[in-house]
């Protein structure tokens, strides 16, 4: 918001500034968590600038790998985001990712280009997991925490008993080509991430379904009384979430060329952390996906930068924990004062 730079005349400059400040205030009023969203992205850029300045991010390929990992994280975080916006929480993330990926690589085996249908079957399975979660939460009124925790541990048993703990099969060749391919100097995954973020944001902010998610997150009773079929929306929310985890699993196994039985483990708590860091209220009904994407990118960025330093890998978790607390305290303050 500094005046600096271009200033044709002082009058127009100050008018522009007033105008900008006014717009910013207006935007803040319409989107209460805008400040959190902007902050998280600025911190993300600052972290990378610092990393580059200190020589930790030695080259572009390192930066690109970080961004690719961030894309996987943000696809997962989108699922967690819609569930939290609807007033729930989803702990079935790790083994939804893993079971879907294992199913795909097992079905595809080494069948090469014939393996495309395996992707579809795997994504259908992800959808089924979501419906199952949604039914438990919506119709059986089980606490989302218990229902999804139960789902996760059941899936973990299925995966571990089937794979005996070892990686299995391999991703279909076309998927590997797609995920490891590039457009010019940039990985395909980056473009997918951009498209996914735009579509996901529009889905939440510009569609009836998106508004209904916010509605049931704010008050299921009022939503029900206003004619929203809350059960159906809840099931759709969990289904969309599981589909996202499945999609992330498919993308990740394509990028890694295979699926392993513990690949989903590092995604659970970071997905919740990314959602919260991006300004979404854990109680539901408030927040958006742009912030969440920033949160996911920031966490992955911190991880990559720290991995390039001499600090031990454990530092990453400690930093993430502290960042999370500081961010939440700041967001909370703003809500109280504003």
């Amino acid at each position: 918001m500094e005046v600096g730079g271009a200033r044709p005349t002082d009058v127009t400059a100050s008018a522009t500034v007033t105008n900008l400040v006014g717009r910013w205030r207006e935007a803040l009023r319409r989107y209460p968590n805008l400040r959190a969203v902007v902050t998280v992205w600025l911190v993300f850029l600052a972290v990378f600038a610092l990393g580059a300045a200190l020589g930790w991010v030695a080259n572009l390929s390192q930066l690109e790998t970080a961004l690719v990992l961030a894309v996987f994280a943000l696809v997962v975080a989108f699922g967690q985001n819609v569930v939290i916006l609807s007033g729930g929480i989803d702990l079935s993330v790790p083994f939804t990712i893993t079971s879907v990926s294992i199913l795909m690589t097992e079905l595809a085996g080494s069948s090469g280009s014939q393996g495309i249908w395996a992707i579809l079957v795997a994504l259908a399975f992800a959808t089924a997991i979501g419906v199952w979660n949604g039914v438990w939460v919506a119709y059986l009124k089980v606490s989302p925490l218990i229902a999804t925790l139960g789902t996760n541990i059941i899936l973990s048993g299925v995966v571990l008993s089937y794979t005996q703990g070892k990686p299995i099969g391999s991703a279909p060749q076309p998927l590997i080509d797609l995920m490891t391919g590039t457009v010019g100097p940039f990985s395909n995954v980056l473009f997918m991430g951009i498209i996914f973020t735009i579509v996901a944001t529009l889905l939440l902010l510009r569609t009836t379904f998106g508004r209904r998610i916010y509605a049931i997150g704010n008050s299921p009773e009022v939503s029900y009384l206003s004619g929203i079929r809350t059960h159906a929306v809840t099931i759709a929310v969990y289904t969309l979430a599981s589909f996202s985890y499945g999609l992330a699993g498919v993308m990740l196994s394509g990028w890694n060329r295979q699926a392993s039985p513990l690949m989903g483990d590092p995604f659970l708590f970071p997905s919740i952390a990314a959602v919260v860091l991006g300004g979404t209220s854990i109680l539901g009904g408030r927040g958006n996906f742009v912030g969440t994407a920033g949160g996911a990118a920031l966490f992955t960025g911190i991880g990559t930068i720290l991995a390039a330093t001499t600090l031990p890998p454990s530092a990453r978790d400690i930093v993430i924990g502290v960042v999370l607390i500081v961010a939440v305290v700041m967001i909370q303050r703003e809500r109280v004062s504003g």
């Binding site: 541990i153 048993g157 999370l324």
Partner: protein, 341 residues
């Protein structure tokens, strides 16, 4: 005994059974099955085994129960356990080699970690899920920083003191009994009443002069103290350090609390039920092992049990709601003016 039986019978008839009753029934059934499928089910050796396996889970579950009664959730216990476990293994020598002192320090650190959680939740008003996930990150990183792979050891006398035998009973059972008594004592102090008051309705409790924030700090500190005791017991039983996080244990924890009759949402339940719940889970695991179910399948059974335990009350509420919805549907349609287009 008779007045007690009559009291329980009255409450069951009145549709208000004590929350622990369900878990006791489950326990009785499991004991029967366990006795019939397991060889030498009640020999000293197997009982010792069961007690050791139960103790860590049971004590952690007691801590989790306290937090759940206050209306929160704690995701940090498995990370606290890992952190204190490696702390004990790596730092004991720096504390002069006295294991009594080390034990006190470990329990105190546990309580301190809990108090930080409590300050985050009570004073900074962070949702318990977020605060404890942040703590989870910090401590799992901390555990790895102290010890980057499983290893280390503790002296045999420390192991024996907490996982050997105290006279006729397994030491682990003794530790669990002490924890249970501690809970019963605290429950009946003023803090206990405040805990239940804050859990059922924090605003109402505040209006009646209950120090809500202080109670929350004490709640989490108390939970952390139990995690510390669990870490002592766990380290004595395994006699080594392991910085990795045991996610299955986290699930078992929640399952033990739910089986024990403590309702999520706060204000109801108790820790003795969670101890019974933990025992049920361990017996179930032992039964499955005895009948030859591969250990890979046990998570499936745990998950099914967790969902099965919450199902009856869930279906009950839904039937009620179903009936209510049929009866009052016209009013709902009349009220649906405005809102979503």
């Amino acid at each position: 005994m008779t007045p007690l039986v009559k009291r329980v019978a009255d409450r069951v008839r009145g549709g208000n059974p004590p929350p622990i009753l369900g878990s006791l029934v489950v326990l009785a059934i499991l004991l029967l099955v366990y006795g019939s499928v397991k060889e030498e089910a009640f020999s000293n050796f197997t009982l010792q085994e069961v007690a050791t396996a139960t103790a860590t889970l049971a004590i952690l579950a007691v801590g989790q129960t306290v937090v759940v009664i206050s209306g929160g959730f704690d995701f940090s216990p498995v990370a606290v356990l890992a952190f204190l476990n490696v702390f004990l293994v790596t730092q004991a020598d720096h504390l002069g080699g006295s294991y009594v002192l080390t034990a006190i320090v470990v329990v105190a650190i546990g309580a301190g970690i809990g108090a930080i959680n409590g300050i985050l939740v009570g004073f900074l008003r962070i949702q318990s899920i977020i605060a404890t996930i942040a703590m989870f990150f910090v401590l799992s990183g901390g555990a790895l920083a102290l010890l980057d792979q499983p290893g280390g050891s503790v002296p045999t006398d420390f192991s024996l003191a907490l996982s050997g035998e105290w006279g006729p009973i397994p030491a682990s059972a003794g530790v669990v009994a002490i924890v249970g008594l501690l809970w019963l004592l605290v429950k009946n102090l003023r803090f206990g009443r405040h805990l239940y008051a804050v859990g059922s309705n924090a605003a109402a409790a505040f209006a009646r002069g209950v120090p809500v924030r202080g109670t929350l700090v004490a709640t989490y500190a108390f939970a952390g103290l139990f995690y510390g005791i669990a870490a002592l017991n766990y380290t004595a039983a395994t006699a080594s350090g392991d910085p990795r996080i045991n996610f299955v244990l986290l699930v078992q924890l929640f399952a033990a609390v739910v089986i024990g009759g403590t309702a999520f949402g706060g204000g109801r339940g108790g820790a003795i039920g969670s101890i019974v719940g933990a025992l049920c889970l361990i017996l179930l695991e032992s039964v499955l092992f005895s009948v030859g179910v591969a250990s890979y399948y046990t998570p499936i059974v745990f998950g099914a049990v967790l969902l099965a335990v919450v199902l009856p009350s869930a279906i009950g509420s839904d039937v009620n709601e179903f009936v209510r919805r049929i009866l009052v549907r016209p009013r709902h349609t009349a009220a649906s003016a405005g809102g979503e287009g």
